[in-house]
């Protein structure tokens, strides 16, 4: 029980730290941070329930006013934009990624974790973020896809692939640390 609580708090802190530490730039020039990769890792490493709880804790702390999102953003205001569907989708993304890891019991961890990160961090996330954008701006599907999905897609695919390799690296270094497979 203690370990569950501590690991949820620490992974919530890890998501925040990833928003600050490694920043890399895509070939297209769009700077991306590893924060949404942190969301994917919560699912692939901690599993569905613990992963979603870590993300919920992170979002709660953003909402109460800590500047934890990439770029030092935070507070209730970040939930007021039409793109807030991404934030609301984060816990579902971690849950879906964790669920795929738990159910697909192949030993090829990079492949399974990569697919789980794509399924959760892209599939589940955009399933919430795109309709949210459409409702918030009364727009059609085309507009939502161009303005809410396209700019983030290349970075998210790259992050999902990296999340797969990172999860595999963790599984190799600490075989028992992969709670999604416990």
């Amino acid at each position: 029980m203690e370990k569950n609580i501590v690991i949820i708090a620490l992974f919530a802190a890890l998501i925040s730290a990833l928003g600050l530490v490694p920043k890399f730039t895509l070939a297209s020039g769009i700077p991306i941070t590893a924060q949404s990769m942190g969301i994917m890792l919560c699912g692939t490493v901690l599993g569905s329930r613990r992963g979603a709880k870590a993300v919920l804790l992170f979002l709660l702390l953003v909402a109460i006013g800590l500047p934890l999102l990439a770029g030092g953003r935070g507070g209730l205001g970040v939930f007021g934009t039409p793109w807030a569907g991404f934030l609301f989708g984060f816990p579902f993304a971690a849950f879906a990624a964790g669920l795929i890891m738990e159910r697909w019991r192949s030993d090829n961890i990079p492949l399974v974790a990569g697919c789980a990160a794509v399924g959760g961090g892209i599939g589940a996330l955009y399933l919430i973020a795109v309709p949210y954008y459409m409702v918030a701006t009364s727009s059609g599907l085309n507009e939502a896809l161009v303005t809410a999905m396209l700019p983030f897609m290349p970075g998210d695919i790259l992050k999902a692939i990296l999340a797969g390799y990172i999860t595999a690296g963790l599984a190799k270094a600490r075989p028992h640390s992969l709670l999604s497979r416990a």
Partner: protein, 203 residues
């Protein structure tokens, strides 16, 4: 740790966070239910007035917090310019700025400890659904304690990478950083158990 609470004092700081969150919720519902450009323009002028009331210093710090919104304004503006539907574009932009500015105002004028106390209080009725307020408070405390530690360790990892390689560290430090978090979790959980752990009736 650093929070977004404004150091420039305003009359809003004296209002407890509970009523402020409630008013924010009502104001957001009104903003999102009226799609009229004149209403949205007046609403934004009113919100700017709320920022101006405590003085110029408060106003400018409010503007600084709103600044990260500009890429979103540009995207909405470009799209609606492209589809020649500028009026609905302006409604979306005005509404977004007002809603975010109001929410920022609550964040800027509420002390972190007051908000954490409010969250714990609000969470109490959810006890029957398995959400334990004291566990939530413990998780928040651990997060606030461990975030600076993780950031420092991340910084050290980046530094040690730089001392060995001419290429930037990038994502390669994430594996050791996550490993450090996992190991820390193990140690802290053991320390908690050694001190009596979390009582079963609290779980």
């Amino acid at each position: 740790m650093l929070s977004l609470t404004s150091l420039v004092k305003s009359p809003y700081h004296k209002v407890p966070p509970g009523p402020k969150f409630f008013l924010l919720m009502i104001a957001s519902i009104i903003l999102f239910s009226i799609a009229n450009i004149y209403f949205q323009a007046v609403a934004m002028a009113f919100v700017l007035g709320l920022y101006l009331w405590p003085g110029w210093a408060f106003f400018t710090s409010g503007l600084r917090m709103l600044w990260p919104l500009w890429p979103f304004v540009v995207i909405v503006f470009l799209w609606h310019g492209f589809t020649q539907d500028t009026q609905s574009g302006m409604i979306i932009i005005l509404r977004m700025i007002s809603a975010v500015a109001l929410a920022n105002l609550v964040t800027m004028t509420s002390q972190l400890d007051e908000v954490i106390a409010l969250v714990t209080r609000v969470a109490t009725p959810f006890r029957r659904f398995g959400l334990q307020p004291q566990i939530l408070a413990l998780s928040i405390a651990m997060f606030i304690r461990f975030l600076p530690v993780l950031i420092e360790k991340g910084g050290l990892l980046v530094q040690s990478w730089r001392s060995r390689s001419t290429r930037p560290a990038g994502w390669r430090v994430v594996v050791p950083l996550a490993l450090l978090a996992l190991d820390d979790a193990e140690t802290v959980a053991e320390a908690l158990r050694a001190r009596g752990g979390i009582a079963p009736d609290e779980i």
